[in-house]
């Protein structure tokens, strides 16, 4: 497995909200990385690759893919899971679904922070946005997601 491929795929998947589109995006991203289309400015390899993933996603949106519909919670990307993971599967599906429902500016910041664990600075560079904007989007994204998950869980999480 290439370095950061899971990170690239997960980010692409959350951006595109479609497994097939995510695969195309990741493949494009590695090709662009290889050909040096996107200049590397000294950030970590992961942050650099995710920047390219995002650029490829934006390019794919411009091209538009009428044949692809969003929202396919399971399917292609899900590797066979051991039993102990199966138990949590419902949670994963729910969390994925609710993250997917966030609008793009909030979704990407949340995914980069919570799943990819990048710093504010790295996120700001990737989404080409001032760091203050990243912070307010992240706070907003967490609020929205927290609200929705709490509603969806119907008290499972108790009061927060």
């Amino acid at each position: 497995m290439l370095p950061h491929m899971n990170a690239a795929y997960a980010f692409a998947r959350y951006l595109a909200r479609d497994p097939a589109a995510a695969e195309d995006i990741v493949q494009d991203a590695y090709l662009n990385a290889l050909r040096g289309f996107d200049g590397w400015r000294g950030e970590s390899a992961k942050a650099w690759l995710l920047t390219i993933v995002r650029n490829c996603y934006l390019a794919s949106v411009v091209v538009a893919r009428p044949d692809l519909s969003a929202e396919d919670v399971h399917a292609v990307g899900d590797a066979p899971t051991p039993e102990d993971i199966l138990i949590r599967r419902h949670d994963a599906a729910l969390v994925r679904q609710e993250i997917g429902r966030l609008s793009e500016p909030f979704r990407e910041v949340l995914v980069l922070r919570e799943l990819e664990e990048l710093s504010y600075k790295e996120i700001a560079a990737i989404v080409a946005t001032p760091i203050g904007t990243v912070m307010s989007r992240l706070a907003r994204a967490r609020q929205m997601l927290g609200d929705r998950l709490k509603v969806a869980e119907q008290g499972v999480g108790g009061e927060a």
Partner: protein
Amino acid sequence: MSACPDKLLLVHGLVDGELDAANAVATEAHVAGCEGCRAEYERILALRGVIADAGAGYEAPAALAQRIEAMLAREGALAPSAPAAAPRRRGIAGHVLDARWWTGAAAGLAAGLAVMVWLPRPAPTTGTDALVSSHLRALLPGHELDVVSSDRHTVKPWFAGRIDFAPPAPDLSADGFPLAGGRLDFVEDRKVAALVYRRRLHVINVFVGRADETAPRGTETVSKDGYNIVRWRSGDLDFSAVSDLNRKELEQFRALFIQRAAG
């Protein structure tokens, strides 16, 4: 009860470990005394826990990985991991990417954050570059050791018949540098013995080769891409210790190595 509007971002920053010391202290104090902000703080932690527990990430499908690896191989960027591989024909783009990945990968390894299972072949290099790249290559899973043993009486004889000199393999475990094993390696197409020692979580590769008369005599310490390299010569053998360990400890390692090897 909701968080104070002017503190909201600071509370998030606190959870994310993004605040400087002064702001962190001030925000912690505020959170401790403000019910609304404390609720927000706990809510963020709870949400982070839910996301982490759910395993909401996605794994790249194996077929995609294979497709991309095949694509990269076609483009000439993927190198065989065998150290003895012949130089490959490389496009300029492959070369550029190489350097980029290389630096990124080195940083990742240095930080101990990334488990690299793929690294591009480094550009043809000399001297320190070659040593660092051999060191990095050795960190790839399955490449570190041919003979796994902390016993010098196992490691040292292993090289007999595999290489035409006998590298010393002193036991430095009492000094906090346990021997992990050895392997054969190539540095600039020269066959060398590589001894692997550890220091806490750091790996030290000691490359031992026949002394090259054109090489500088005496000891030297250089840094390259965050790696320290200590070189010395003993008898007709050249030694190069490469590690992300700090310079002081690596020089200490050299002194101990020389001392124990002689004794």
